[in-house]
């Protein structure tokens, strides 16, 4: 599997790498969920993780912001190197909080805090110690605009986040993630709980966002991956089977297995 | 939408109808989830319900065995007529229990009871007042065979159902549904929580089952619908957009909307 990366990497050698998995592996207690993953994440591009249910997409994604540290018994192997500072995100001496301040995350189910819309977005800033009222307001507005939500909520910033529709909630969560001005944003099936219209608006947003930030997204929906991603990684039972430019992976996959999956022969 | 049915029905007039929705509608409290559905379910065939998330597939499926009666505030409109006795399943005077004895259901997540494998399957029979030990054993064995699970569990019938793997659990639930000797079995995304191998075995099982029983299945996976169903109904926001022979719906949908969905242009 090691060469899955190698074979394709040459094709886009001119791109900057934002992060990179090196011989990365992961264990839930005794269960090895990921094995020997080598994969680049290119700067200001959208990378999609696809694969059948249970193949480890979420596990890989959540390793990038050390979410697994919250639960006992989990163990990382190998490295995830972040650029430009060449930091190993998984290193003992790197504080997971530092990692999470640089890498935001948006979840499958919109999870706004039971607070006002304003406070939801401001939270990432407050955590960073920002208290200045007007600065907060500026940044919140900016993030809500970035998440294409400002016009819909500008008159009701004090409403509860939960009062928004599902799609709006998800955009609120994106605004929250944006507020922190992160280098990478992780999305774990961000539209699977949404209706088609909301889905379309989130997809559009993601394509806009990649101007400013690197994006890693897990999706079950092959069409979605095809529509929005620049690179696609196909995983199967904890291994990275194929990685490449999206168009290439979808049109001319190098592995039979990938082809079977993409054409719907199983899964 | 009314003519969605009509247009296709002529093509398979020689088939027996097992059940039929007539101007069927459904309300969750004030929210109308289904509107004016007219659709046949053909005897000993597999009918697939597809459509984007939230379009009302599960709602429609669960109307067939009056599952909505369990929660307050739900309301049916129109009729679902079951053949050969021409009973309106939704009629006030028809006991939902009677309906459920005729129409079994398999859920999205396998939900075996916290009992032994044997008792899980025997449950449907005990509910029907069967107490004779050897008769029970016969029927349980028969159902487990029907669900292609007998060989794997025959030596551990007293084990807890929860100790089986996900795919086995789902087959256990199918055995449980089969034991009741139902006329229709409803499947609500039966494989969405399973891995590809388990999924394949369930799909195979469904194709075998239609020899004996009518099947109505909700699925998110277009490929799955294409592989196993004889008829496909495409729904969108509470309405039935298109109904027809599966091959036809997939290859030459009559509505632009259906085509968009199937080719992955949205959803």
């Amino acid at each position: 599997m090691n060469n899955a990366t190698a074979s394709n990497a040459s094709a886009h050698a001119n791109l900057a790498i934002k992060a990179e998995c090196r011989n990365f592996g992961f264990h839930y207690g005794d269960f090895q969920a990921l094995k020997d993953i080598n994969m680049p994440v290119y700067d200001k591009k959208v990378t999609a993780l696809i694969g059948p249910s249970g193949c480890g997409k979420s596990t890989l994604l959540r390793s990038f912001n050390r979410m697994h540290d919250l639960y006992p018994g989990n163990r990382y192997q190998g490295e995830i190197i972040m650029q430009p500072d060449n930091t190993n995100l998984l290193a003992q001496e790197v504080d997971p909080i530092e990692v999470r301040m640089r890498i935001s995350m948006v979840f499958q189910k919109p999870n706004p805090f039971p607070k006002s819309i304003f406070e939801n977005v401001a939270y990432s800033l407050r955590v960073r110690g920002m208290t200045n009222k007007s600065e907060l307001e500026d940044r919140v507005q900016h993030s809500l605009k970035g998440a294409a939500l400002w016009n819909e909520v500008k008159h009701r910033l004090n409403d509860l986040g939960a009062n928004l529709s599902g799609g709006q909630q998800q955009r609120l969560c994106i605004a929250r993630a944006l507020a922190a001005d992160p280098e990478i944003i992780l999305f774990d099936e961000p539209t699977s709980a949404l209706d088609p219209i909301a889905t379309a608006s989130i997809e559009e947003l993601i394509t806009e966002l990649k101007e400013k930030v690197t994006i890693l997204i897990v999706t079950h929906n092959m069409q979605q991956a095809a529509r929005i991603s620049d690179f696609t990684a196909y995983m199967y039972i904890g291994e990275l089977v194929e990685f490449g430019v999206t168009d290439q992976v979808f049109v001319k996959p190098q592995k039979k297995q990938t082809e079977d999956y993409i054409t719907g022969r199983f899964g | 939408m009314n003519n969605a049915t009509a247009s296709n029905a002529s093509a398979h007039a020689n088939l027996a109808i097992k059940a039929e929705c007539r101007n069927f509608g459904f309300h969750y409290g004030d929210f109308q989830a289904l509107k004016d559905i007219n659709m046949p379910v053909y005897d000993k065939k597999v009918t697939a319900l597809i459509g984007p998330s939230g379009c009302g597939k599960s709602t429609l499926l669960r109307s067939f065995n009056r599952m909505h009666d369990l929660y307050p505030g739900n309301r049916y409109q129109g009729e679902i007529i079951m053949q050969p006795d021409n009973t309106n399943l939704l009629a006030q005077e028809v006991d939902p229990i009677e309906v459920r004895m005729r129409i079994s259901m398999v859920f999205q997540k396998p939900n075996p009871f916290p009992k032994s494998i044997f008792e899980n399957v025997a449950y449907s029979l005990r509910v029907r007042g069967m107490t004779n030990k050897s008769e029970l054993e016969d029927r349980v064995q028969h159902s487990l065979k029907g669900a292609a699970l007998w060989n794997e569990v025959k030596h551990r019938l007293n084990d807890l159902g929860a100790n089986l793997s996900g795919g086995q659990q789902q087959r256990l639930c199918i055995a449980r549904a089969l034991a009741a000797d139902p006329e229709i079995i409803l499947f609500d995304e039966p494989t969405s929580a399973l891995d590809p191998i388990a999924t394949a075995s369930i799909e195979e099982l469904i194709t075998e089952l239609k020899e004996k029983v009518t099947i109505l299945i909700v699925t998110h996976n277009m490929q799955q619908a294409a592989r196993i169903s004889d008829f496909t109904a495409y729904m969108y926001i509470g309405e039935l957009v298109e109904f027809g022979v599966t091959d036809q719906v997939f290859v030459k949908p009559q509505k632009k909307q259906t085509e968009d969905y199937i080719t992955g242009r949205f959803g």
């Binding site: - | 599952m67 229990i97 459920r100 079994s104 259901m105 939900n111 916290p114 449950y123 509910v127 549904a177």
Partner: protein
């Protein structure tokens, strides 16, 4: 944690003095409990029998009724009834026990005597019955929580097979909630064993080695209050008995709780 340590320390320390004077064999096997009499006997079995008998009566009321109420509220009752009945039941658990005690004595006992004239004015039966009523809310409320925690998917599975409410409740929901229900029972038992004022008022404080609820009897707890309120000189062997009795009580509840913990581990919900 610290509290337990402190409780155990104080009880053991004081009981030590007691057991230095009274061999443990006499404590366990004597059939009379007359520590304050001239002719002193220290048979804890006597108090234990009272404790167990009254608890048994209480549990015979509380467990079936509590369970039925729990099933009814979680599986049968319309939403409104449940929302009103549950807090109301919780009130039953909030009534000061001394109030219950007098209620048993001046209301229930005469009532029972009409049915069963032989019944003495103080008896474990009426105290136990009222105690049972007092415990109902604990059993019902906790069991109901456990049953409601059973995922709807399981219930739907059962209904989809054509089961009625009762079948679903008894054959699917109850087994799935076993561990929660077991802990509700255990808590009920602990409450019964530890209840003080009801028994002190209505059961008759007569140390009596009997398992017949229609007699009067003394329990460990009622003995402790009795002595704590009494004219006994502190530091005497008679006074020390309350710590020995307290220790026995603690061991008893501890046993039940460990049993409960084991049961919970054993029947961990597998939905």
């Amino acid at each position: 944690m610290f509290t337990t340590a402190a409780i155990v320390y104080i009880l053991v320390k004081e009981s030590w003095i007691f057991f230095e004077a009274v061999p443990i064999r006499r404590f366990l096997f004597d059939t009379q409990w007359t520590p304050l009499f001239d002719d002193a006997h220290y048979g804890i079995m006597v108090l234990l029998s009272g404790t167990l008998t009254s608890s048994a009566v209480a549990l015979l009321v509380a467990i079936p009724l509590g369970t039925i109420i729990a099933i009814y509220l979680s599986e049968f009752a319309p939403f409104k009834v449940r929302e009103i009945a549950k807090p109301f039941l919780e009130l039953l658990g909030g009534v000061p026990t001394i109030v219950y005690g007098y209620f048993a004595l001046v209301f229930l006992t005469p009532l029972l005597q009409k049915i069963y004239p032989e019944l003495p004015g103080f008896n474990l039966l009426s105290a136990g019955l009222i105690m049972g009523v007092m415990i109902i809310p604990y059993v019902a409320s906790l069991s109901e929580d456990a049953m409601r925690a059973v995922p709807m998917a399981l219930r739907e599975g059962s209904y989809a097979m054509g089961a009625t409410r009762l079948q679903t409740a008894l054959r699917v929901v109850m087994p799935a909630a076993t561990s929660g229900i077991a802990s509700a029972y255990i808590l009920g038992i602990s409450r019964a064993v530890g209840e003080t004022m009801i028994l002190a008022v209505a059961a008759g404080m007569q140390p009596n080695l009997t398992f017949n609820p229609a007699e009067s009897g003394a329990t460990i707890t009622s003995y402790i209050v009795q002595v704590a309120l009494g004219d006994l000189p502190h530091g005497s062997i008679g006074y020390q008995t309350i710590f020995a009795a307290g220790l026995s009580l603690l061991l008893l509840t501890l046993t039940f709780n460990l049993l409960g913990h084991w049961l919970r581990k054993r029947f961990r919900e597998v939905y």
